[in-house]
């Protein structure tokens, strides 16, 4: 019996064995740095939909965070760090603030939110949230990134302005300069339309017609009869639709009076993530996601994935699990996140928006990726999308410091001292040229 050596016979040896075991355990536990992250969302009522083609997904987003935490912990095995995700799902009738106060512990520095702008602002303004950093994985709200901005929120998804600019760049490339804008009845549709008008102005194109869709949302009654009449007698290059909920936008293709492409919230859509996206290693995360979730990755999943990965990346690099160190790193120059879109992703220090390419996707093919080639920028072409530094009405503390660092890095070869004012002047000049001095 050669295996006998493994059998410990003496009780002294046994107790010694357990002491050693206990010791190793404590040593290990002490060495592991724990990073606490909370994920908070609220269950949603199933909204009205145009059709039953796409099943409603309750709690989009959770799965993206889960995968990123697993990825972080794989790295953590090698670096002695452990990432813990506390998942808080508020019921439909529940109170988000109350649940936050109860279930997100005081020592949790990072909170990933899958909540509308209003609730996110409530949370971010709480006294107990002062030392927390929020990762907004849901909103596209431009105000929240400008006049309503909070210094403790980072935004993972492209804003409406970024999406509209992405569309506009593509339309400009295609020379579709005369737009027919169709706007839905909801407040969100108005905001989307506002971003589109801004983009048209910014890139020197024209909204030649604008109409509000006030008809019913019943495809059997509406599509065949109303759409031709609604679009009759107008001349334009492209029909741009603002219908965020997807209640009527799909009607226009093939039914409008004159044959023109449909673009916007339907037709060719600007998005952070899409099932047709396979380049730059994207197919790997698409496959991994499908295997684990049993469905395709959605924008919100991508956003929560990026949120948790950002934290992971910063924690590994800084060896810190503290809010301020991580925030400084995320807003600094060293941070570069791989997000499967061919360019390193970084945060805009002036409003916490994640810089990223925007995909322009049709139902079954990826048509283009913005920034479209040829749209230039002195610092990074990603800043041709959305509110650039001089346009933004949000000013983060510490932003000036970071900005000067960026500029001096970009200008170190010339040895010229660049102030933030000089940079802003340069950017303004650049935009004036771009807009033909309008």
């Amino acid at each position: 019996m050669k295996d006998n050596y493994f059998v410990i016979k003496s009780p002294v040896a046994i107790s010694f064995f357990f002491i050693v075991l206990a010791l190793t355990k404590t040593v290990l536990a002490e060495n592991v740095q724990v990073v606490k992250i909370s994920y908070i969302t609220q269950q949603q009522k199933v909204p009205a939909a145009l059709s039953n083609l796409d099943a409603f997904i309750q709690n989009k987003g959770m799965m993206g965070a889960n995968i990123a935490i697993d990825d972080n912990n794989t790295t953590g095995q090698f670096t002695g760090q452990k990432f813990e995700l506390n998942r808080v799902v508020v019921p439909i009738e529940g109170d988000v603030v109350q649940m936050f106060e109860q279930q997100v512990s005081i020592d949790t520095p990072f909170v990933i939110t899958n909540l509308p702008a209003k609730q996110l602002k409530q949370l971010a303004d709480l006294e107990s949230a002062k030392d927390k950093l929020f990762f907004d994985a849901t909103t596209t709200d431009d105000e929240l990134r400008n006049s309503q901005c909070r210094h403790n929120i980072l935004h993972l998804l492209p804003s409406r302005a970024m999406r509209a600019d992405a569309l506009a760049q593509y339309m400009m490339k295609k020379k579709w300069t005369q737009w027919f804008l169709v706007v839905g009845m909801t407040k969100q549709d108005q905001l989307y339309a506002k971003a589109l008008r801004r983009a048209a102005n910014r890139f020197g194109m024209n909204v030649v017609e604008e109409k509000r869709w006030t008809h019913t949302y019943d495809a059997r009654r509406t599509a065949q009869s109303d759409v031709p009449v609604f679009t009759q007698g107008l001349d334009y290059d492209v029909l741009v639709v603002a219908d965020e909920q997807g209640l009527f936008g799909e009607y226009f293709d093939y039914r409008a009076w004159i044959p023109r492409p449909v673009i916007g919230t339907q037709g060719l859509v600007p998005t952070a993530w899409h099932k047709t996206h396979e380049q730059w290693g994207a197919v790997q995360i698409q496959n991994r996601f499908k295997v684990l979730a049993g469905r395709g990755m959605q924008e919100q999943d991508y956003a929560t994935y990026l949120a948790a990965r950002s934290i992971g990346e910063a924690v590994v690099r800084t060896k810190s699990n503290q809010m301020q160190a991580i925030k400084d790193y995320l807003l600094g120059n060293e941070f570069a996140l791989q997000g499967y879109k061919g360019k390193p992703l970084t945060f805009r220090p002036w409003n916490g928006q994640l810089r990223q390419p925007v995909l322009l996707a049709a139902a079954r093919s990826l048509v283009a990726v913005a920034p479209v080639e040829g749209f230039l920028h002195p610092l990074t072409e990603l800043d041709t999308l959305g509110f650039d530094r001089p346009e933004s009405s949000c000013n983060q503390p510490g932003e000036v410091k970071a900005a000067v660092a960026v500029v001096s890095e970009n200008n170190n070869s010339e040895g010229e001292e660049i102030t933030i004012q000089k940079l802003i002047q340069r950017l303004k000049k650049y935009y004036n040229n771009l807009n033909g001095n309008k």
Partner: protein, 321 residues
């Protein structure tokens, strides 16, 4: 008279092949084929079908066999390096992309990106020997020429994993810049050069300490930093020069391997990814994925001599004497 003329012709053909015999083989990701090129004439000789989505390619040390990852067939094919006939295949695991051969040519180390594994294959018996769990999305892989280390770069974990060849176990990890793509040892096995696609850097690691001893940020005047995405990296035998392919920057960086200073950038084709030396190391070949060609660089004067159209999405490249 006729005979002797023929004789001269035969001899001269033999001579010319003897002097110039060199073949460059390129995998064409979109054409499902290999492109066979005469680099001296700068001509595409032919293309040969090979399987679905060929990417990584390696030549056996005796120059007799090619190993080609046909990713969508989930296999690594063994191909006769003279006739380009498919001789067999290896159990590579799913979606193989990059791999490395040990110096003896009997072990193949394959990165399985989706499963976060390095698969070790016994090439002679066509059998899987081991699976090594590594970080998320392993990509670049290399074996040191003294057959001591296998290094695997994981793109999402951002690490170089040092695998002991004898035990097939990870013994150390080095945290590197975001999305490491390729890794290569210097011929003396003292250094490991690693590229980071997202940070735009080349990192030089000391093999003895497994630490980064130098980080080179590649900056090109007139290009924004997000276009600087280094991928393939090779270093010459004397460790005089190293070369880095910088993807969408469409350039190859020439680096003094002694001082680790960037000497210059050579403009090649679009989205340059992988690099290969000629056997005599007098030329460097690059695959340019988006312009569908390869560039031939003269290493005596560091000038791009020629580009040769080869087919759609050239990916991997090897050169055979």
């Amino acid at each position: 008279m006729k005979l002797s003329f023929l004789g001269i012709a035969v001899i001269s053909t033999l001579l010319s092949t003897a002097v110039y015999a060199e073949t460059v083989i390129v995998t064409l990701e979109k054409d499902n084929a290999l492109a066979i090129i005469d680099p001296v004439e700068g001509k595409l000789i032919k293309t040969v079908e090979v399987g679905q989505r060929p990417r990584g390619i390696v030549l056996s040390p005796d120059n007799k066999f090619l190993y080609v990852a046909t990713s969508d067939d989930n296999t690594v094919k063994i191909i006769d390096a003279d006739t380009f006939e498919v001789l067999g295949q290896l159990p590579s695991g799913e979606d193989p992309e990059t791999f490395a051969l040990n110096p003896a040519g009997d072990r193949l180390y394959v990165s399985n990106e989706d499963d976060h594994l390095v698969t070790v294959i016994d090439v002679i018996n066509k059998k899987e020997v081991a699976k090594i769990k590594v970080g998320i999305e392993p990509e670049g892989i290399a074996v040191s020429s003294d057959n001591q280390w296998v290094v695997s770069a994981s793109e999402t974990t951002n690490m170089i994993h040092w695998i002991d060849v004898k035990t097939n176990q990870i013994v150390d990890n080095t945290l590197v810049d975001a999305r490491p793509r390729a890794a290569n040892f210097t011929a003396d096995n003292k250094q490991l050069w690693v590229t980071s696609e997202m940070a735009g850097t080349l990192m030089v690691l000391d093999v003895a300490t497994k630490k980064i001893i130098k980080k080179i940020k590649l900056d090109i005047q007139g290009l924004t930093s997000d276009k600087i995405q280094p991928v393939g990296v090779v270093i010459d035998k004397e460790r005089r020069w190293g070369y880095v392919a910088i993807g969408p920057a469409n350039r190859v960086a020439v680096i003094n391997a002694q001082t680790l200073a960037v000497e210059k950038f050579l403009l090649v084709g679009q989205r340059v990814w992988n690099l290969a030396f000629s056997p005599d190391q007098k030329r460097l070949y690059t695959t340019n994925g988006r312009s569908n060609d390869i560039s031939i660089i003269n290493l005596e004067n560091h000038k791009v001599m020629k580009s040769v159209g080869v087919g759609r999405f050239p990916w991997g490249i090897v050169s055979k004497p």
